[in-house]
Every structure is written in structure tokens, then in C-alpha cells.
């Protein structure tokens, strides 16, 4: 898995609340049995005027010239709620988004981010709004001044004006992202414990193991 340590990027504000994973990638875009090829379907319902021709909707934030190359999304409360589809994260990543900053996230989406090297950052509504305001105010300036800096080691987001905001993340997800860990491989190192648990469990809950019809 791709590591996440530090990142500088253009942030695009999409502060709508309750943006669900159907909106991040509509079901009709999930045409293949794969983890790839979903970037084009990202926000398809909002991003294109016509779905078939893929004509960009000029009003949608990611289509605006000042946000070209955006790799950070500033989002509203409950971002990524709804369907568990991991495609939402794959689509964001393929599009180039490395981090989403929001006041809160859908729980399954949050976990899916961690497992794909995308950093979900929880900051208060006020701070996310402040970051958005700054980014919007910088539109007329040189591109670099629109950059937001993220440092996962220190747990800090630096706004374009240099103000810094600390964020919290649990040690588990933090480790996974910093080290780009293969979780399955890591868990398999606990095989002896899993074996022992299962052995004991067979005694304790035999009905779990006596599956009829199989």
C-alpha cells in the first residue's frame, strides 16, 4: 500500500454536508470487477453536464481552472456516508486525491481510506470552513500560495497563510498509513493466536463449527 507521510497540495472545497458514496461514485459507474478504472466516474453526477458525452460541468469545483491538480478535498460533515463501496476511495485516489479534510466521515468510508493510503483528517467545522475561505481567497494569487501542507508524523495541517492546525488520528490507522503496511500480512503474524483462539472456541461454542449442509 502507498505510504502517506507528508503532502503538499492544492485543496478544493466541496463543503456540502452528507456527501454519500453514491455521489462520490454513482452505481452506474461501477461496471467492472476491478479496483481500477474508476477515476473518471468520480462525482460523475455532478462533474459532467451530460453523462454520456462526459462534458464537464463548469460550475463543479473540481472542474474550475483554479483547482486543477487538486489533491486535497475540503469536505462537509458526514463525508462518505452511505454505501460501503470501496470504489469511492479508489475513484478519489485515481483522480489524484491524497487526503480529505472534513468535520466527520462515514465510518466504513473512513476505514476504506486508511486501507488505501488516503488520509482522512478530522478537523472542526470552523477550521474546515476557514481553510476553504483561505483557499478561495487565494484564487487570484500564484498557485503555490494555495497549497495546504499536511504532516502526518506531527499530525499537523498548515493553511496557505501559515496557520497550523493539529489533528488526531488513532495510532493503528496512523501506523498503517505512515508505513504503507500490508495488513493481511501483518495479521498473519498472529496466526498462532488465531489458531489457539479457534481451538478453544470449538470447545466453547461448538455450534459455530458444526455448520449443517456444508
Amino acid at each position: 500500500m502507498e505510504k502517506f507521510i507528508e503532502h503538499d497540495g492544492i485543496a478544493a472545497p466541496l463543503l456540502r454536508i452528507n456527501v454519500d458514496t453514491d455521489a462520490i461514485i454513482p452505481s452506474r459507474e461501477l461496471k467492472r470487477v476491478s479496483k481500477e478504472g474508476f477515476g473518471e466516474g468520480l462525482f460523475a453526477g455532478w462533474r459532467y453536464v451530460a453523462q454520456d458525452s462526459r462534458e464537464p460541468n463548469p460550475d463543479f469545483v473540481l472542474n474550475k481552472p483554479q483547482y486543477q491538480g487538486a489533491s486535497i478535498l475540503l469536505a462537509g460533515v458526514n463525508f462518505g456516508c452511505g454505501s460501503s463501496r470501496e470504489h469511492a476511495v479508489w475513484a478519489l485516489k485515481e483522480f489524484g486525491i491524497r487526503s480529505v479534510i472534513a468535520p466527520s466521515f462515514g465510518a466504513i468510508f473512513y476505514n476504506n481510506c486508511i486501507r488505501n493510503g488516503l488520509l482522512p483528517i478530522v478537523l472542526s467545522d470552523d477550521i474546515v470552513s476557514e481553510l476553504a475561505t483561505q483557499v478561495e481567497q487565494q484564487v487570484e494569487q500564484d498557485p503555490p500560495s494555495r497549497l495546504i501542507h499536511i504532516d502526518l508524523h506531527q499530525g499537523l495541517v498548515t493553511a496557505p497563510n501559515g496557520d497550523t492546525y493539529a489533528f488526531d488520528i488513532d495510532p493503528g490507522p496512523r501506523d498503517m498509513l505512515l508505513n504503507g503496511l500490508d495488513m493481511i500480512g501483518l495479521t498473519l503474524q498472529h496466526k498462532a493466536e488465531i489458531d489457539a483462539f479457534q481451538k478453544q472456541d470449538r470447545e466453547r461454542r461448538p455450534w459455530i463449527y458444526a455448520v449443517p449442509n456444508s
Binding site: I17, D22, S83, S84, E86, D125, D170, I194, Q198, V211
Partner: protein, 468 residues
């Protein structure tokens, strides 16, 4: 130390507490479906890994399959066939039980798993689908995951999870006539918002919960994810044990007796401490319906489209304005004045036999308003057959409903069949998100009774006016 039911089940499944602060939780059962499960199985194959206990893994075809009579691998959804055939292939390769298209056990994953006795009280069960929380209605500790986590569960039989906080939601009192568990959950989310349970697992308790049938409990827990909960659970009782008994994959003989003895101990200790508690007087709940694009936009059916100027903050106001625009509504309009184009009874929320009986009770001897597309999709092939044995299919068809094969169908738009551009739909499903049921479709969530009544009236209607 007194413990909650959730803590007890959690603790019993902890294989190890890991250095990173998460717990390694043992997973008893895994359920897959053709849309997400296939990706996990393929990925395991490609990585050259092995499923640890394939006999504990099940799969069904529900998300992408068509629901027209006489269906086959071909789907209206372009490329749907790839998912169906890939699932079949991967399931054989992996050695897991698949309930294929023509299998009498086929159906929507969260309808099938209790029906077949795969979800049981006290088991941990995961599925790459957000509505896995449904199974809390049986007293299972079940939650939705992504497909990478599903791979982890398949290969290691465990998941790394941080324990959520625990909230009790108590429904005290009795339910009024025409009010169902769907209305209870819509009332809860409408009152406490779509993020009201973020960070929590919920235990539903109280007299009203004990009074609910198991099927109604499954409906209630189904929408816990719409409340942002990690999952929901209801302590198993005699009704639960009766429900499970004799199901195809439920334990038998001595194992059954051992299981029952264990299940009877699955309750929260009377002095257990919850991190949070909500108490609702069930008598206050009316039939509910949603007006907007979030389940939190739920109001009593006798209510009016709300005014955004009364919103509590700017972001809420903006989202309300956007929802009003999308739904083409004006503040102050009575919900029961809204004409509908379509009516849908189906989905893992409300497509079980008891739901179909309630709807049929209203439809019997009546006709759907002309021009309305009305569809009933039973939640499983078994539900469909049981309904047909009672003659419910004829009641639906005589009223003007289409009677379909089981599947997720138009609960969500997969690229095939949909309700169509800007059509207004009254629906027994769980999500009223933008374009969830088709491009710019306008969905109003409600109970099957309300859907049936509305189909007859041609507008959103109060089911109490139609109950015999």
C-alpha cells in the same frame, strides 16, 4: 464489572489486543454478494492467498441481477453479466456456498442470512455491504465493511477494529395503529440527525422493541447505518430463538441446546453503563416520510415540507435548499399533497413476508392510481414463494403492482433499470440520496403500508386512512 451486551460479545471475540490500540476480532461468518464480494475473491486469488474457513463463507446474487420473470445471466445493466459469472467462478474456486440465480435460497443478502440461519444470535458476521447492521435484529454482532477488509476477514478470519462507544436507544410504550418499525427508525434519525450515532454501536431496548417481530427488528436495525452507527443490536429473546429454530444452517441436536443456553445469557447486565442513552416514547411516533435527500429529512406524514430559514445553522440551511431544489418542493406544502409517479416495495429494509402482508392488506380490493408504476420485489426467493402460497402475488397484481423475482432491484440504480429522470417515488427502501434510484429520481422513504396507501391514492398518503 457489569457489561453491556455489545461489550460481552466483543470481549468474547477478541483474539488479541494489538499494539496499535485496535482489537483483533474473530469473525464467525462472512457473507458476500456479486458486486463487492467478487472483487475480494479475485484479489485473494491474484495474491495467491487462501480463505481460512471457506465453510463459514456464503455468497448470493442480489445486487446486479435483473428481477424480471425468466431472468438469466444477462442484465439490463451493461456488463452485469461479468459480475454474475465472475462470482460463480470465484465461489467454486474458493469452495464457498453460493446461492445462485436459480437457487431457491437466493435473495438479498441481509434477507437471506437470517432466513437461512447463517446469521445467528451472538455471532460476528461481516459483509462488504453497509446494511449488514440489519442482522443486529437477531442479536448478531454484524457490520458492513469495504472489500479490502473483506479480504482480510476471509484470509485471517479476523478484523482489526477499534471498539466503538455504546449507546442505548430505548423505545418505551406501544406503537400506534399504522406505525411500524420503519417509522421508529425514521423518527429516530429525523429527530437526532443522520450523524446522531457517529462513533457508537447502538443497543435497541425497551418495551416496544420486545413487542416487535423479528422481521420488524431487522427493519429497525437495517437503518442504523443511516444514523451513522457502527452497528445496532437487540438482545435475543424467546422470539429470536423461535425464529432461528429449524433454519437450514442453524445448529441442530446437541449443538442447538448448547447454543440456546448460550443465547439466553446474551443481555446487557441491568446495571451496565452506556456511554450515551436516548429514550423515545413510541406513542409519539406517527407514520413517517422523508421530504429531502438525507434520511434525516424525515417528518410525520401529516407534516409539511420544512422551511430552510428555520435551519439551525448555515450548512444545514444550504443542504435543505439544495434538497428542496432537487426534490422540486416548496416549503409549507403538505406531504400528502405530493403526487407520485411510482411506488416501490422491496429492499433489505422492507421486503420480508410480514411487509408484503401489511401492504397486501391495504391493496386488497383496491387499484393503484392509473399511470403509476408500482413494483413489488420480494426480498428473497423464499419470501416470494411463501407470499405466493398465501395468494399475496395475486393481491399485488390485481391492484396493479408488478410482481418480480427477488433482488436489490431498484433500491439502487446500477445502470440498468431505473425509475427515470425526476420521477417522484414513494419507496420502502433506506436511502433517498440524489440519483440513488435513477438519474435525478426523487425518492421518499416510508413504510410498506405508506407505500401501498400512496400507490392507491396517487399521492403520498397516510396509511391509517386505508387500514381495515
Amino acid at each position: 464489572m457489569p457489561k453491556t451486551l455489545f461489550e460481552k460479545l466483543w470481549n468474547q471475540h477478541v483474539v488479541a489486543s494489538l499494539e496499535d490500540g485496535t482489537d483483533l476480532i474473530y469473525i464467525d461468518r462472512i457473507f458476500l454478494h456479486e458486486r463487492m464480494g467478487t472483487i475480494s475473491l479475485k484479489s485473494i486469488e491474484v495474491e495467491g492467498r487462501r480463505i481460512r474457513n471457506p465453510e463459514h463463507v456464503f455468497a448470493t446474487m442480489d445486487h446486479i441481477v435483473d428481477t424480471f420473470p425468466g431472468r438469466n445471466d444477462e442484465t439490463l445493466m451493461p456488463s452485469g453479466k461479468h459480475f454474475i459469472q465472475a462470482m460463480r467462478q470465484s465461489a467454486i474456486h474458493a469452495g464457498i456456498q453460493l446461492f445462485d440465480l436459480n437457487d431457491p435460497r437466493q435473495g438479498i443478502v441481509h434477507v437471506v442470512s437470517p432466513e437461512q440461519g447463517i446469521a445467528l444470535p451472538g455471532v460476528t458476521l461481516v459483509c462488504p455491504d453497509s446494511h449488514t447492521c440489519t442482522l443486529g435484529g437477531l442479536g448478531a454482532l454484524a457490520w458492513g465493511i469495504g472489500s479490502t477488509e473483506a479480504e482480510h476477514a476471509l484470509v485471517t478470519k479476523t478484523l482489526r477494529v477499534s471498539r466503538p462507544k455504546i449507546m442505548r436507544v430505548r423505545f418505551d410504550g406501544g406503537l400506534s395503529r399504522g406505525v411500524y418499525s420503519k417509522d421508529m427508525i425514521l423518527h429516530l434519525i429525523g429527530t437526532y440527525s443522520a450523524t446522531g450515532a457517529a462513533g457508537y454501536a447502538i443497543e435497541f431496548a425497551g418495551k416496544a422493541i420486545g413487542d416487535l417481530s423479528i422481521e420488524a427488528r431487522l427493519t429497525l436495525c437495517n437503518m442504523a447505518v443511516e444514523f451513522s452507527a457502527f452497528t445496532a443490536i437487540i438482545a435475543p429473546d424467546d422470539k429470536t430463538i423461535d425464529y432461528v429454530k429449524g433454519r437450514p444452517f442453524a445448529p441442530t441436536g446437541q449443538a442447538w441446546d448448547q447454543a440456546v443456553a448460550y443465547w439466553q445469557g446474551l443481555t446487557s447486565d441491568h446495571d451496565a453503563v452506556f456511554d450515551n442513552e436516548i429514550v423515545i416514547d413510541t406513542a409519539d411516533i406517527d407514520p413517517m416520510v422523508t421530504w429531502g435527500n438525507s434520511p434525516q429529512h424525515a417528518i410525520p406524514i401529516t407534516g409539511q415540507v420544512p422551511n430552510p430559514s428555520k435551519a439551525k445553522d448555515q450548512n444545514t440551511r444550504k443542504s435543505m435548499v439544495r434538497a428542496l431544489d432537487y426534490m422540486d418542493l416548496k416549503p409549507g406544502t403538505a406531504m400528502t399533497d405530493l403526487k407520485i409517479d411510482a411506488a416501490f416495495i422491496g429492499s433489505c429494509t422492507n421486503s420480508r413476508l410480514s411487509d408484503l402482508r401489511i401492504a397486501a392488506g391495504i391493496l386488497k380490493g383496491r387499484k393503484v392510481t392509473e399511470g403509476i408504476k408500482a413494483i413489488c420485489v420480494p426480498g428473497s426467493t423464499q419470501v416470494k414463494q411463501a407470499a405466493e402460497a398465501e395468494g399475496l402475488d395475486r393481491v399485488f397484481e390485481q391492484a396493479g403492482f408488478e410482481w418480480r423475482e427477488s433482488g436489490c432491484s431498484m433500491c439502487f440504480f446500477a445502470g440498468g433499470e431505473s425509475f427515470g429522470y425526476q420521477e417522484r417515488v414513494i419507496t420502502s427502501t433506506n436511502r433517498n440520496f440524489e440519483s440513488r434510484q435513477g438519474p435525478e429520481t426523487r425518492s421518499h422513504l416510508a413504510s410498506p403500508a405508506t407505500v401501498a396507501a400512496s400507490a392507491i391514492a396517487g399521492r403520498i398518503a397516510d396509511p391509517r386512512e386505508y387500514l381495515q
